[in-house]
Symmetry: C2
Subunit: 496 residues, 2 copies
């Protein structure tokens, strides 16, 4: 039995290595690769994906899992080995339904789609993106067909990003959020906010240096992080000691600062995953929702809070004296928390953000169920933007082409942004219960206590448990719209 377990671990270590290689290839594609290299990259990613899939789904994996079934029942469910067997069994049972050639085709189409999207977005040309989108959607539909899904077809895709979470559950949560958010937006949208000073001349070189300083200040182990620039910021890397985040510098605004804190949250999660399990599936991140709870926590609960700016605003003023020298701290904090319906999700304020996600969640279901023609997506997008946020989309670069996800075949992914946002408030409040002086620490520039708390209560759990069980262990509760809505009301209506 010990032999079978060791063999299974070695096999899963190789699968995990290949997953890291795929992340690195994707990082390279988005940051470093000469654009013409895509012809090779698509094949390389497809081959690595195919081999990873074959290692996972080989008959030998099934034999080992069968052999280990009696052991599994005797193990302490809290043990690492029990968690490993749970996770591998689940991954195996899903993966064996999918031919490795389809997996390889999906990896190839994703690599190609990303590179097509960059150009299409730059030229705001949806038509040039459509064939790549059609290819990715067709493959996703074939992927869904591999499963005898008892529920909705979209469940299959959602489960890849947010395990053991159903479309119906997400829909119910979003319905609970929708009316209060719409009401809140209506209440706040016409408030005058003095934030003209956030647009101006913010030299990119200074932003770049500041991004490095912010990441160092929030805290990392030495020689293990890097920051690059991409069209769509993201976090990736090779493991707990190879953390790579990206950001995007707008010479006329400060968005990169919040984007950097956001990606820092993702990076810190990767950085504090359980090192002893780093080559096993249990040592990876739990779900995209949990991942996003970490990025949103650092971006918003820390990065748009008064205590943080009491500490950091003098430094920011010193960096941009021409722009901010005469702007008082309260004015600045009010400006970065202005509520204003806008076009771009990643730049949206905390209140309107949810509507951007709901729009995508609904369109994704329409796509998967075949209720919308792909060529009609821009129109459907623009209509919903008008209905939900009252904004008019001037072109597809600011509409349906703004996000990278669909181009890389990540369909079923978007709802996790709002799930994560909701969970971020629950996690934040749990941290505050445990760390009574958290605000004072942040005001003093001490981020270690929060890092450590997150490390212990969230990151160290890795993928041992599904996301809702992970959240319950960290906070005492599964996902709940209440704290998020209460937080928004307290902050934006009562100004606390």
């Amino acid at each position: 039995m010990a032999d079978a377990l060791a063999e299974l671990k070695e096999r899963m270590a190789e699968v995990t290595d290949l997953a890291a290689v795929l992340r690195l290839l994707s990082w390279d594609l988005q940051t470093m690769m000469p654009p013409a290299g895509i012809v090779h990259r698509a094949d390389q990613a497809a081959t690595v994906m195919r081999l990873a899939h074959e290692l996972l789904t080989a008959p030998r994996t099934g034999e080992l899992l069968e052999e280990l079934r009696p052991v599994e029942d005797t193990l302490d469910p809290e043990s690492d080995d029990a968690a490993l067997l749970r996770v591998v069994r689940r991954d195996f049972e899903k993966a064996v339904r999918v031919p490795s050639s389809l997996r390889a085709d999906m990896a190839r189409a994703a690599a190609e789609g990303r590179s097509v999207w960059v150009k299409a977005k730059a030229e705001s040309d949806f038509a040039s993106f459509l064939p790549a989108l059609e290819r990715n959607v067709e493959l996703k539909r074939r992927y869904v067909d591999c499963f005898d899904a008892p529920g909705e077809r979209y469940d299959v895709l959602l489960d890849d990003f947010e395990p053991e979470t159903t479309t119906a559950e997400v829909r119910a949560l979003f319905e609970e959020l929708k009316s209060p958010l719409v009401a809140l937006i209506a209440e706040l949208r016409d408030r005058e906010v003095d934030d003209a000073f956030l647009t101006g001349d913010f030299p990119v070189e200074r932003q770049r240096a500041l991004a490095r300083d912010v990441v160092d200040m929030l805290g990392t182990r030495p020689s293990s992080w890097r920051i690059d620039e991409t069209e769509h910021p993201f976090a990736a890397g090779g493991g707990v000691d190879d953390v790579r985040i990206t950001t995007r510098y707008d010479p006329n605004g400060l968005e990169s600062l919040f984007s950097t804190m956001h990606e820092y949250g993702h990076g810190l999660y990767n950085h504090q995953l359980p090192r002893s399990l780093s080559r096993l599936p249990t040592g990876q991140s739990c779900s995209l929702g949990i991942h996003e709870s970490q990025s949103r926590l650092w971006e918003n609960l820390v990065g748009r809070s008064r205590p943080f700016w009491r500490f950091f605003y003098p430094r920011l003023q010193a960096t941009y004296p021409e722009q901010l020298g005469d702007v008082a701290q309260d004015r600045f904090v009010a400006a970065i928390n202005a509520v204003r319906p806008s076009l771009i999700r990643v730049e949206a304020d905390e209140v309107t953000y949810g509507m951007h996600v709901m729009l995508r969640f609904e369109l994704e279901q329409d796509i998967v169920e075949g209720r919308v023609e792909l060529r009609d997506l821009p129109e459907a997008w623009n209509r919903k933007m008008w209905d939900y946020l009252g904004v008019e989309v001037p072109d597809d670069a600011h509409g349906v082409l703004q996000d990278v996800h669909w181009s890389g075949g990540s369909i079923g992914y978007f709802s996790t942004y709002l799930l994560g946002t909701v969970m971020s408030v629950q996690i934040w409040e749990a941290a505050r219960r445990d760390l009574a002086d958290l605000d004072e620490r942040i005001e003093g520039g001490e981020f270690g206590p929060l890092r450590d708390w997150l490390g212990e209560h969230v990151h160290a759990l890795g993928r041992r448990w599904p996301p809702q069980e992970t959240l319950r262990r960290a906070t005492g509760s599964t996902i709940d719209a209440g704290p998020y809505l209460a937080y928004l009301r307290a902050k934006y209506v009562r100004g606390r």
Copy 2:
């Protein structure tokens, strides 16, 4: 039969993809990876190496080769398929002798060794490098043990870098070179050369821009190259449209210019390999010797020639007016061709260069045959430097630690530098026979004719033939010390 051939090609395409992934992982390690990431990278490289090795050596590969044996005899030996079967059969027969676990251990030790070497070199601390070297050498010895080599043990290693070339053949060639080179060095070493102006203030930013200009000027297809900075310059990449070269900028000298032209030569070879075979072993580079013939040709036959500088010197003067404004072209060309025994191989002039390589070739044989203790390598190195070049080595950073190769397990590699240098002159002369006005073209800044000639006569052959047959097809002759020695005498003694 067609099915078997298609299956073999698909299998070899995957092996080729994984080889490209390994090159990219190594490039990333040397250019981008946060240093702490090495703990992950070693495992990732080992896993990819193991899988590539298993794909190549699987019983199915052998079955396919057997099945295809009757076809092979009927194919035109000039055909792509015949070449593929020759090359795969050879690779398979070598690879099946080596356990995939040993291959994985070698990849892991190479990744770890490289990262140890960077630090050891920076601190000139051979002792801290010794354990990594011992590990790599031990693995190489176990690798040699896998073969029933009829000849010398070193043959096994040499064959990996320069196929179908024996230690005895290289030794004979080097013996032929040694006395004439020693005599030439003695004749030239005390000549006064006025080259003090090559040391001074050459701002790195200008060097960086110049390197990009030089690569563009020598010629590439758009969106397919990048240049980075590393301690040890190299060329790598993901395929014909993903070419990556590196260089190193010394703020007090111009070496990066020659290093860039050198790596351009490597990059151009990768760039012009046969696209239709890009996912097959036959579409890869032929050998390290042939590779080096391309880099040395651009660095020396082009980059240190009078016609090139007639064209490019005004541009260089305009880049560094403070340093070179008052230096006449003839003085400059004489200075960059000064013959002066020195410590560092990659900075050595054309005449002394060979002695650096012979030294390493001899030490490598001593290492493999166990005739030298690894801890005694610095002393052995320093003694030979004195014997061959009359220079004293001040520290190991300028001695035994100067090259990256041994740290990455590349033992058996060094002789290819001199083989390539000798071949570069043969190839250059063949190009000149075909392109009567080559000097005039270069003097006019036209590099297309040379690029195209090399593409057609050398690069397009890929790995279809072993290196000596490739050279014979390109030049009409196998390797010959004569043209190289004649070139050196003509240029350095008769000043032509």
